[in-house]
């Protein structure tokens, strides 16, 4: 087994464990967003267990890479990754969305170590990522910024203000990843408000565009590496994903955007993710 193969196997294990945690925590909370958390699990696992330099022992280590979860409602996938990485105890995951918990319904950087930006209101995260990338460049430091966007989210106009600015400032230390799962609350994105052709739009805005299968870990690793080597422009990885990925009855079902599984559904989902 080559090193990359070993890495892929490890990341896949981590992603599966994160999916289990997503189901457990949303089930315990009886509130939250499973669909878009599950669709992003392979991407977020690859970021935290392969790509990014972060240190759970020093959450504010100045040299760390920054991850901005623009689609803040997918907080469970971030919390699962942070707990798995060791930023806080895994038991705490079950406090999601409860009173006095550090695990807010949407990520709160003031409460939970490892959360780089408070997000939740869609469309704002990429602007913040642009600001972080500008700061890194001003300070001539090597850390990079990773921004995970939802495909429904790119209907927000501010995303395109940020896209324009990132290309204008030639921010090659910024990598956006689009979790393109095709569904938003009211239905398929193409029916609610069609944003196609998506790749052409980002290209027209001056971005280096890569298109991959967002559940193919080898492809995610490769795309992130390509982004790192790209000079003079920001990169967006358009990752085709399946909403609810990993739980058969949740996959491609718009109803699982923001619905919590009942106890028996938690059991069934965990059995599939065993």
């Amino acid at each position: 087994m080559t090193m990359v193969e070993a890495d892929v196997r490890l990341i896949a294990e981590k992603a599966k464990e994160m999916r289990r945690q997503i189901i457990r925590m949303i089930g315990a909370a009886q509130s939250g967003h499973p669909g878009g958390s599950l669709s992003a699990a392979d991407i977020v696992a690859t970021l935290y267990f392969h790509e990014m330099r972060v240190d759970p022992a020093q959450p504010h280590w100045p040299e760390r890479d920054r991850f901005v979860l623009c689609k803040g409602h997918a907080a469970p996938v971030l919390y699962a990754a942070l707990a798995e990485k060791g930023f806080f105890p895994k038991e705490e995951l079950l406090t999601l969305r409860r009173i006095n918990s550090r695990l807010q319904g949407h990520p709160d950087m003031k409460k939970l170590p490892g959360v780089e930006m408070s997000t939740g209101s869609l469309g704002q995260g990429l602007s913040v990522s642009v600001g972080m990338a500008l700061a890194a460049r001003l300070d001539q430091v090597a850390w990079r910024v990773y921004a995970l966007l939802g495909d429904g989210e790119i209907q927000e106009g501010q995303v395109w203000e940020a896209a324009m600015a990132a290309a204008h400032y030639k921010l090659d230390n910024l990598c956006a990843i689009l979790d393109y799962n095709g569904l938003q609350i009211d239905g398929p994105c193409c029916e609610v408000m069609n944003s196609e052709p998506v790749a052409e739009k980002w290209r027209a805005f001056g971005w280096h565009v890569l298109e991959i299968d967002g559940h193919d870990i080898t492809a995610i690793i490769g795309a992130l590496a390509q982004a790192r080597q790209t000079k003079g422009q920001p990169t967006i990885i358009i990752a085709r994903t399946i909403k609810g990925k990993g739980v058969s009855f949740m996959e491609k079902q718009v109803g699982w955007h923001g619905t919590a599984p009942k106890p028996e559904q938690v059991e069934a989902a965990l059995a599939e993710l065993a």
Partner: protein, 314 residues
């Protein structure tokens, strides 16, 4: 006495601040000549970001810079800073308590000819309601300059409100501004006038005229609307027992509201509020607008008469 617009003082202070503190960065949204951030851009082009006509992105980028340790001053007209980008300020700056300074210019009706679409009389209210936001309304050039330096060392989000038109100096040359303090500019025992921004000069003129009427008006400059120096506000109200507020802003949600809320809770006295009375502005020269919308020394004097008459009737 020389007159200077607070936005002019802002531009000069920003350039000085940039020389002192390398963490200071400045952002603008295509209005740098008007907001005077161009003064900074000239000296520190690498630390200046013109984000184009995109105020939501302006606030978001400022938030990201602050999250990475910079001290960003984000500037545009007050209308667009607080109105267009309100939710970005709320969720990307105030909610995570990021160290962003929102330095907005062309506030109030003295924007003048551009008309009602550009004359924000709601910005203080919008910023005051945000948890953790400091709201500063300088009255003259000296105060504006010092407020910029004070904001830079203050940890947390700050809203600085600057005006377009030149205003007379109301503070002494040796004045020392501190966030959260109010300042008595003229003593008096009959009535207290709390004013901010360009209305401080009008309040002083009103007090001068009132003295001729035999009324000794205390004039207090309230540069920090939030956090309000509640103790000092109550102390002044105790002394005179009658209060007038004056601001170039809606009487809803601004200085008048802040003072009235504080007094109602701690020391209820009669209050008259001078300000924009729940209406939009229109095109015109600043002086004409101030006259038409009742933001003059004469309007303050009339409000003093009203409040004293109400007190007599009690």
């Amino acid at each position: 006495m020389s007159k200077i617009a607070t936005r002019e003082a802002y531009g000069k202070a920003l350039a000085q601040l940039g020389a002192q503190n390398p963490a200071v960065v400045v952002l603008d949204a295509d209005l740098s000549k008007s907001t005077k951030t161009a003064d900074f851009a000239k000296v520190f082009p690498e630390r200046f970001f013109n984000v184009g006509i995109a105020e939501q992105n302006l606030m978001g980028i400022a938030a990201g810079l602050a999250a990475a340790g910079k001290i960003p001053f984000a500037s545009t007209f007050a209308m667009f800073a607080t109105g267009r980008a309100f939710e970005q300020i709320r969720n990307s700056i105030a909610y995570p308590r990021l160290n962003v300074k929102i330095a907005a210019t062309h506030a109030g009706i003295t924007v003048g000819e551009d008309g009602g679409s550009h004359q924000t009389v709601e910005d203080i209210a919008l910023m005051r309601v945000l948890p953790g936001m400091t709201v500063i309304v300088p009255a003259d050039g000296i105060e504006a300059e010092q407020a910029v330096f004070a904001a830079a060392v203050h940890q947390g989000p700050v809203y600085l409100r600057f005006g377009r038109s030149a205003v007379p100096q109301v503070n002494a040359d040796n004045y020392r501004f501190e966030i959260g303090k109010i300042y008595e500019l003229r003593p008096g025992r009959d009535v207290t006038i709390f004013a901010c921004g360009i209305m401080v000069a009008e309040a002083l003129n009103a007090a001068e005229n009132l003295a001729a009427d035999g009324i000794e008006a205390q004039v207090i400059n309230v540069p920090t609307i939030k956090p309000l120096d509640a103790e000092a506000v109550v102390q002044a109200a105790r002394l005179t027992g009658a209060v007038v507020t004056a601001e170039e802003h809606s009487i809803i949600g601004g200085l008048g509201s802040a003072i009235t809320e504080t007094l109602a809770e701690h020391y209820p006295v009669l209050v008259e509020r001078v300000g924009i009375k729940d209406t939009f502005g229109e095109s015109g020269q600043p002086a004409e607008l101030l006259q038409k919308y009742g933001l003059t020394a004469e309007a303050i004097r009339a409000a003093v008469f009203r409040v004293l008459k109400r007190r007599e009737g009690k």
